[in-house]
């Protein structure tokens, strides 16, 4: 389909607050985003992409993303499952990533969609931190949100969160994810070396994981904010823009 016909649902509730940036990112690339408040949400029928923005949905009281996730689950869970099954794209950035994890859509093994087997836990520093992070694209281009970014490219993307440490229910899951190519971004230093510790890894995430996708590659979440680095070009010519270009390009080809 043509880019201008790609409808992106940018879902919001009280406390989401990066929706404008995500909206702008799609708009700048010629797609057709719209804001949908959860209270007015009817169905995903006319959308090809669902974006869950960052922020503090419902204040992040209880746990980051938890309230937003359970409200989505209780309202239109079946709709979402179909959306994923049909190959449409779902992206969650920062708080949106937390929501997708709380929904059990990430790590998202195809046989157990909806099972919560990960958590974005409190940063090791126990506080909110705003800092520019460097990410290495380690995915084998399975993820529909990074297919335009070559493997091993390094990008500077800002982070700003208090709960970004990805914990998994058990170690076997990590191996499975790695085998499936579900690890998309890792924190690294300017030379691309991962495993440099804090502050390069701002939250203490084991294995330096910054972003992952589901087994199919069409659900993606990352803690750093590519929409804030849309125009911030790195030496390799890439910027946060590549995330949005990738998914637009995928939808255009596939549907």
């Amino acid at each position: 389909m043509e880019t201008k016909d790609i409808n992106v649902c940018v879902l919001r509730i009280e406390g989401t607050n990066n929706e404008q940036e995500i909206y702008d990112s799609f708009k700048r690339l010629g797609a057709n985003p719209s804001f949908v408040h959860l209270n007015e949400f009817k169905s995903l029928e006319n959308f090809q992409c669902l974006m869950i923005p960052g922020g503090f949905s419902s204040g992040d009281y209880i746990r980051a993303g938890a309230i937003f996730a359970s409200r989505i689950r209780s309202r239109f869970w079946d709709d979402i499952k179909d959306f994923v099954r049909d190959g449409y794209a779902i992206g969650g950035i920062c708080n949106g990533f937390q929501v997708l994890v709380e929904l059990g859509l990430l790590p998202g093994f195809s046989r157990s969609i909806g099972k919560v087997n990960a958590c974005l836990a409190e940063n090791d520093s126990a506080r909110f931190e705003c800092r520019h992070t460097v990410l290495k694209h380690v995915g084998p281009n399975k993820c529909v949100f990074t297919r335009a970014l070559p493997e091993n490219e390094v990008l500077v993307i800002p982070s700003a969160h208090a709960e970004g440490k990805l914990l998994l229910a058990d170690d076997k899951l990590y191996e499975r994810m790695e085998k499936n190519g579900q690890i998309v971004f890792r924190y690294c230093d300017r030379s691309g070396r991962t495993d440099c510790g804090y502050p390069w890894n701002p939250n203490g995430s084991p294995q330096n994981i910054a972003g992952i996708c589901n087994e199919k590659g069409n659900v993606f979440g990352m803690m750093p904010h590519p929409e804030r680095a849309f125009y911030k070009e790195n030496a390799n010519g890439h910027s946060g823009k590549v995330i949005f270009e990738s998914v637009i390009n995928y939808i255009g080809e596939r549907f």
Binding site: E14, G15, N17, N39, R127, F128, H132, A160
Partner: protein, 766 residues
């Protein structure tokens, strides 16, 4: 006890004083007599709710009774062509471009923060956002200048009833963080200063800037007779009762307990959709007026909006939605519960407005309507419990309070030259006032909204140094930006309130110019002690004159501000602190300049003159020497140099720039080296003794990095405006070296400076 009762004012003076105390209204004897006379003319006694409303309206906080005479006389009679609507409303409006204006507001939340740092600071953010939203503007940036006693203050020095500065400091930062981040408005600028005078009187000032299409500007006044008052947002509760009267007196050791009701609690998750809903209703042209509920709650907002429109109001008080049952009518009327906005709406648009608020899950109720006569009437279950002349109610008294000069040690002092310059530099870099603020800054989301073109920390990732001002690019399709800074040096202020205040403006201008922005508007938050004490009043009047001295010559004026008096506690008064927020305009953000050195072999210039002005400097404080001359300001020089530098920056001729402030040339160079780990070698050429030249904090100075190929053009540009400059040396290597008269004074690795500068707050605050 009945809901409402009458208060007999025809009693002895003794009794009148008692009434003021028992009702907690804070009205003085003279004020009560004026009120008595009014009610004698009305032929009755006031009801409790009427007296309470007067207490709110006539408080220092609401009517500026001690300050307005001097503000009008010295500060408000300047104008600038870019000013659209200034001083009169909750936020000042200044032209951004042909179609847009920006709104500026700055306020204090000192007393609440001293009592309950987390809630106090958080609600400060909430309040300042409302001030901007009520102009119809979308908030785009928050600014938070904060002032504490040193975190190392020993527990024995802390008076009863006062919390340790570390507790206050971390609570305040937590509060700003949790509120600002949750509502999704970036906190991009601020300052963090420490002085022992803030023990028991922390200062928490908060500023906000918003952007609005000119056609969407809305004012805090009702439109027409018959318009409906709609109250939107959180329920009204007992929190924040008597906040303004509490802010208008000194704190004492049981303020902790007695002022509990003044404590407010913020709810950012009510605020965030409230902002959306108000702006949406306004953009659809459904509102005739919009105002926030701040100090004084309903009692201030209803009357002020009506009077500003030239009308009166009639309120049905039981319609106000409550957080808790059993509030008395007067409590509902004066409660300062957070997250509430008042709108006036034409009757035919009412349902459309209510529908928007329903969509956003924000309660909104009709509480009254606009009437022709300039009176305020309140009904409570059918009974009229309030009926007063609006002009009498809102006017408030004005005082020309006496003042008396305080003797300070503002004169030259003698001291010897240090042996160890490396050690001195490292100690200054570790001084909490000079050290890196990133422990604070990183807790705030300074990039949410993705409009922060230049953040408060600049340089390579995880190596960042201080920026002079942050730059916001508010519009999607325009490269124009706003630069933001906030400044004041309390150490100067204590020694010399006139030149200290003048220096604050100079510093704000310098910081804006350093990023390439031209000073465009200012806001001031004047934090002082008890105005009934002539010495404190003197500090205030001096400072106001010092501000005027500079502001009159730089083509931009104060467009809004706030006065906070009675900042006194068991340990004394706070240092006089006129916080200045500076807003600069930059036509093309891509031409902005940052502080870190960018390359090797570039020339390093100092712009401006270094004088023997070390009073209040970080260096003399480190040496333990009191007194000294506080830096002066020549507004003409400031304006020339600024103009010239901005012009050169516009031509792309300045690679990096940092203004010289705390720690003098020495610390400024260190910060420029740290950001990209690039060293420098310089030779001092001035006539002063080396330590004075390195550490003087003279105003109107910058360090610039220039490509050697641009040398001639750069220098010609400065000469054309008679701006003083000297080449100090060149960038390069991984050390900072400074020499004078053939003697190496400082020779130190950039990495060691970084370590010394970066750690202090993390080490003490955890």
């Amino acid at each position: 006890m009945p809901d409402i009762f009458e208060i007999d004012l025809n009693v002895s003076e003794e009794r009148l004083k008692g009434i003021s105390e028992e009702t907690g209204t804070g009205l003085s004897l003279d004020e009560l007599k004026v009120i008595r006379d009014y009610f004698v003319k009305e032929g009755r006694n006031p009801k409790d709710i009427e007296l309470q409303a007067l207490g709110q309206a006539w408080s220092e906080h609401c009517c500026y009774k001690s300050s307005k005479y001097y503000l009008k006389r010295y500060l408000f009679n300047f104008d600038a062509p870019q000013n659209l609507f200034v001083i009169k409303e909750d936020a000042g409006l200044v032209e951004f471009d042909k179609d847009h204006a920006y709104a500026v507001a700055l306020e204090s939340h000192n007393h609440p923060s001293a009592i309950e740092p987390y809630g106090g600071a958080a609600t400060g953010i909430g309040g300042i956002l409302r001030d901007v939203v009520c102009m119809g503007a979308q908030p785009i940036a928050l600014v938070d200048p904060i002032f504490f006693a040193p975190p190392t203050t020993s527990s024995e020095l802390i008076p009863k009833g006062v919390k340790h500065p570390k507790y206050i400091f971390s609570g305040v930062v937590d509060g700003i963080r949790d509120y600002g981040n949750r509502v999704g408005i970036p906190t991009v600028s601020g300052m963090t200063a420490f002085h022992k005078g803030y023990l028991g009187n922390c200062l928490v000032n908060v500023g906000c800037v918003g952007i609005v299409k000119k056609k969407d500007i809305v004012y805090s006044r009702v439109g027409n007779v018959g318009d409906i008052y709609v109250l939107a947002g959180g329920g009204t509760g007992r929190d924040g009762i008597h906040g303004v009267t509490f802010a208008s007196k000194e704190l004492d050791d049981d303020s902790q307990v007695s002022s509990r009701s003044a404590v407010q609690v913020g709810d950012p998750i009510m605020k965030e959709p409230l902002i959306h809903a108000c702006l949406e209703a306004n953009e659809k042209k459904l509102l005739t007026g919009l105002k926030d509920l701040g100090g004084g709650g309903l009692s201030c907002v209803v009357g002020e909006m009506a009077l500003a429109g030239g009308y009166g109001a009639k309120v049905t008080l039981e319609n106000v939605h409550l957080k808790e049952k059993d509030l008395l009518p007067w409590e509902i009327w004066v409660s300062e519960s957070q997250e509430r906005m008042m709108m006036s709406v034409r009757e035919k648009d009412l349902n459309k407005v209510l529908k928007i608020f329903r969509k956003w899950d924000v309660p909104a109720v009709v509480i009254g309507k606009v009437i022709q006569e300039k009176r305020l009437l309140i009904e409570w279950h059918g009974e009229t419990i309030f009926d007063m002349d609006l002009e009498f109610l809102t006017e408030g008294p004005m005082y020309k309070r006496p003042f008396k000069k305080v003797s300070t040690r503002n004169e030259n002092v003698e001291f010897g030259e240090p042996e160890d310059y490396n050690g001195t530099l490292l100690s200054l870099l570790k001084d909490y006032n000079c050290a890196c603020d990133d422990w604070v800054v990183r807790q705030y989301d300074f990039e949410v909204r993705a409009r922060t073109f230049s953040p408060p920390l600049v340089g390579m990732e995880n190596c960042e140094t201080h920026a002079d001002a942050s730059i916001i690019k508010p519009l999607e399709d325009s490269e124009r930006g706003l630069a933001l800074t906030s400044d004041v040096n309390p150490h100067f202020m204590v020694l010399d309130p006139f030149w200290g205040a003048a220096s604050a403006v100079d510093e704000a201008v310098r910081n804006l110019v350093a990023v390439g922005a031209r000073p465009h508007s200012f806001a001031d938050c004047l934090n002082f002690g008890n105005p009934e004490k002539p010495e404190k009043m003197w500090e205030f009047v001096q400072a106001v004159q010092g501000l005027a001295h500079v502001i009159s010559k730089i083509g931009a004026t104060f467009v809004s501000g706030n006065v906070s008096l009675y900042n006194e506690g068991p340990a004394g008064a706070c240092p006089p602190t006129p916080t200045i927020m500076g807003i600069g305009l930059i036509d093309d953000v891509n031409k902005s300049v940052t502080t870190p050195f960018k390359g090797n072999g570039n020339l390093i210039y100092i712009i401006g003159n270094t004088k023997d002005e070390l009073g209040g400097s970080a260096y003399l404080r480190y040496r333990g020497i009191a007194g000294g001359i506080v830096p002066r300001v020549n507004p003409y020089e400031l304006s020339n140099a600024s103009f010239s530098l901005i012009e050169l920056m516009g031509k792309g001729m300045v690679i990096s720039c940092h203004d010289i402030s705390e720690g003098g040339i020495c610390c400024t160079l260190a910060e420029m080296c740290i950001g990209n780990e690039i060293g420098a070698a310089i030779t001092l050429k001035g006539k002063l003794r080396p330590d004075k030249e390195l550490f003087s904090e003279s105003n109107t100075r910058w360090i610039c990095e220039i490509d050697p190929n641009d040398r001639a053009e750069f220098e010609d540009g400065l000469r054309a405006h008679q701006v003083a400059f000297t080449i100090l040396g060149a960038t390069g290597g991984d050390r900072l070296r400074m020499a004078k008269d053939g003697k190496m004074l400082v020779d130190i690795e950039v990495k060691s400076m970084k370590e010394a500068w970066q750690r202090p707050l993390w080490d003490i605050m955890g």
